[in-house]
Amino acid sequence: MTPAESVAVVLWLGTMIYAVFGGADFGAGLWDLLTGNDRRGKAQRELIDRAVGPVWEANHTWLIFDLVILWSAFPGAFAAITSTLYLPLALAAVGIVLRGSGFAFRKLSLRLTGRRAFGLTFAVSSVVTPFFLGTVLGGIASGRVPQAGGGDPIVSWLNPTSIVIGLLAVAAGAYIAAAFLTADARRSAPTVVDAFRQRTFGAGVVAGGIAIAGLLVLRVDAPRLFEGLTGPGLPFVAGSVVAGSVSLALCVVSDARWTRAFAVTAVAMIVLGWGVAQYPLLLPPDLTIAAAAAPDGTLQALTVITVAAVAVIGPSLALLFWLQQHRRLESHPEGQALSREPRRPPP
């Protein structure tokens, strides 16, 4: 593997991890939106709050990681993407601002009106942000970003492939989030286990349906990507279908841990399958990974940085998740104040 290819692998792995963990965060916001009024949704929103609170900033950092790798290792491709897809990128950035700040502000707001307003901001932006990010990937994968940049600012992301991938990003996030929340609920909120189990199943079916319908759309709208996915990418596509089906079956028999594991696999396989399908291209239809790559000095630096990142961030993340799973991160400096807050029924 050339240095450029190994950095491209890192890029795709980063995207895969962001699709899983970032997707789970966005999905949690979607369930926060759909979970009913203040009273009915209370237990579920508290679970979502506990599950997302300590990890969302770390999960979100994978996006930053991808951006810095992309602009350093493949600067021309980065500029081509941003000068073409600036509208969905700008909209996603707005969504990220509203989502993160809405979530943090809700946590510390005491009044019900404030909590509702910030909660709604958090939840709505959690739904639209992954859609816009998905349309960006769709524009790239369907070959609508010209090498030189400055492609069509509208059609590059409002096209059949982009819309399908945008919807898939939302649905897949909802699916993984529900699977994670079911597992979390079994430890700390038994009354809402069934609600999230049903949502896992429902979202899994929807995500699977969009993925399969999406393949048909790709066949017409992005035939080269379709060929790649049914050629070299086929093992991953098949793996995703199998993992998704297994997770749905496990969901029915209430095995939350393995449902979660297979749901994660199903989503991860799609991202990897896309990478394999378009190899050796970085920006279809013409720009290869090799041609887009920065000089060796940059690639070596990024390799060192990646190794350092794995060495430092790996154990740190493991510690974070371990502490969270063992319920050691459920306090909050304002926690006592929050629990004192009376929850009024909606007018």
């Binding site: 810095v68 350093s72 500029a79 950035a93």
Partner: protein, 461 residues
Amino acid sequence: MAHLLALSMPLLAAATPADLVAARSQMALTLGFHIVLACLGVALPAIMLIAEARGLRRGDQDALLLARRWSSVVAVTFAVGAVSGTVLSFELGILWPGLMGQYGAAFGIPFAVEGIFFFVEAIFVAIYIYGWDRLSPLAHFLSGIPIAIAGLGGTVSVVAANAWMNQPAGFTMGADGRISEVRPLEVIFNGATWYEVPHMLLAAYMVTGFLLASVYAIGMLRGRRDAYTRLGFTIPFVVAAIAAPIQIAVGDVAAREIVKHQPAKFAAMELVTETGPQRPIVLGGILVDGEVRYGLEIPGLVSFLAGFDVNTVVIGLDQVPLDEQPPANVVHLAWDAMLACGFALLGLAAWFGLLRLRRRDPTESTWFLRGASIAGLLAIVAMEAGWIVTEVRRQPWIVWGRLRTADAVTAAGGIGISLAAVAILYLALGIATIVVLRALSRRWNDETISAGDLPYGPTGK
């Protein structure tokens, strides 16, 4: 969808000079907003750890309560800082594709390093904030250490990227106009890194320390004179007061480096119009038709400061081609504003030190507290003015001597609309942040603090 299309139509127009101004304004606005939160992200965890260490070692419950409350502030400011920082990385691509496309291979590297530090910070901020009462006191304290270290490393990385824009290094241009070779360590440790980094790091500690101290100074002026409030004032104020004199020295060294490497910048900062020895310093004043007006001149001082000799020859704006001159008035006034605020803060720090030397309690002096109550504002003004000096004096270059800002900006038009939208979004974000923090502070003030009422210290399980 149709609505969205209609919204985006004006954006299809090509870029104009007005778009360049709008793009620069948007970058200035978002960076100027983020930098305040970045300062808090770098220095507040360290100050919070000082309080927690004191609380644990001396069993000081006031200090523990302060650490705990400051960590609530960190929860808000870190979240807003994280998202406003993400906006900046999107903007680097959206607004300046010419910069990233041509120089990303070199300029991007420090940001990749920063990614690791930011990641570590995000992880341990979460452990620290959510770990109160759940981790043993020592484990909880230790979980804060990586935050402070990551803040340091993150500052080094990001400021190294900015320094690189001032003194680009560590790369070779190929015949095709693309970078053909990159030497990463030379990129990161370029000629401006070593003086820009400490300047910003100290600024972060000054902004955070003085800002936090201001809050408690106002509390004391309003009659809250308990030990808790005094400690809440003293810890951050002492941190900032230690940083202030070092900052002036570092800034002085930095200015002389600029004389050496970017004389056009220095000429604009000091409004030196003509090259020569015995150049005067101009306090205030603006350039009208090439003449300095309304300023207070001190003969020979610029020459003396530039080379410790009044006969030092200082390059003036007359040596700089017109199309390579930065907008001198903006640079000069921002420079003077930074210096004025910086020296005012130094004076305040000295006042505090003198009172302490004479065994007097500075917090007993109403006039001192009045000064301290605006120290946070002064520190923010100084830092923002400093960034205006750094960024505007580099114009018309985005990469000094290599790439003009006008050639780096996106070709997509309609940036004015984007700027307006961002201004509204950030106004709302800023107001919401302040409202939430004020609500927190009101709640804390309402809670009675007594030695008997202490569910707060981290208690192991």
